[in-house]
Symmetry: C2
Subunit: 205 residues, 2 copies
């Protein structure tokens, strides 16, 4: 029987990987449908807002990566124990997204070189250190997790996107953040995550 | 007794208004702490990531506007009846945010005039019509609501930000979208929302 879940995304990590981490964590079989760039223009009009990832389940279709992650986190029990804990987890995830968008904005900036260089200075000398210091302090307060003092989907979300963000940054962005390194270790040592990382395609991060 | 909830945001609608709508909808008293631009530099370092809105409740502090909205939506019962419905609502809210960010990117763009003009063309001739057509179709499918066929926090989120988005666009962005106009009517006719709009400061949208 085909798996109930079908994830459609590009053939790399980025916004698809938190979803793959969560499905793997829960031991949920899924079809990992990886589209090639050349096939994207044909597929795009059939998606709700011209974007992937999309997740299909029982004939229904979901879009928006973070919304999908939150749904899966509920299925695999990586959410908070009450509404306020979920608020803390959600705020953490949205903060990581803020940081990701700052990278993306710089990377996809098509401006002249001088402006891009100035943005690079701000990003690397101000924005990243600011976020890293605060996120590292959060990880310290939460004993090696990002929120509520234990493993939640915020940790899987963060760690699953580290390769992608570090690729954009051209360096390990948590290299100077000992508590965030503990978060990473805590996620990567989970047997189901370890198994996924061994199994996933190696060619493209 | 002072209200249990204290919202801190600037003296205009934007990211604060969905929170004010949700609190008002639920009949929850709150301190509407509106900071002036001049006081922001002094306050900024005390916020979790240098941003407002923040919401204080019972000595606890929350940040990230959408996470706060989702928490309040649970308290005032404007969420889905199951996880998949919540996924649909969350995806709708994130899509509205995508659209808002496209506006913000254009508005706060400090590029030379020629580039800005080109971005304006793309935004107004392609991006907005694309989103409006799809959102209007969603509102039609859902009988005058954005998701799951009835009133949810996605509707309050959308309508509370329309003034702000239309101010950025310098036109009523749902002027050509009859079903989105029904969504707006459905929200604005709610007595608690109507009362809030009459009560809120009129000077700044």
């Amino acid at each position: 029987m085909a798996p109930a879940y079908k994830l459609t995304y590009f053939d790399f990590t980025a916004l698809g990987e938190p979803i793959r981490f969560l499905l793997s964590y829960g031991g949920i079989e899924f079809e990992d449908n990886r589209i090639q760039r050349a096939n994207w223009p044909a597929l795009k009009p059939s998606t709700p807002f011209g974007q992937v990832p999309i997740l299909e389940y029982n004939g229904k279709l979901a879009y928006q990566s973070i919304a999908i992650c939150r749904y899966l986190a509920k299925q695999v029990k990586l959410v908070g124990k009450d509404d306020w804990e979920d608020l803390e987890i959600d705020a953490t995830v949205d903060t990581i997204t803020d940081l990701r968008l700052k990278f993306a904005q710089y990377i996809f900036e098509r401006d002249e070189q001088a402006k891009k260089e100035k943005e690079k200075q701000t990003l690397f000398n101000e924005t990243i250190p600011y976020y890293m210091e605060k996120l590292d302090a959060m990880a310290k307060r939460n004993n090696g997790y990002l929120a509520v003092g234990r493993l939640t989907w915020a940790d899987l979300f963060f760690v699953s996107m580290l390769d992608y963000i570090s690729l954009m940054a051209k360096k390990d962005i948590i290299g100077g953040s000992p508590n965030l390194q503990i978060v990473r270790e805590n996620v990567l040592k989970i047997p189901s995550i370890k198994a996924w990382i061994e199994k996933r395609p190696k060619e493209n991060l």
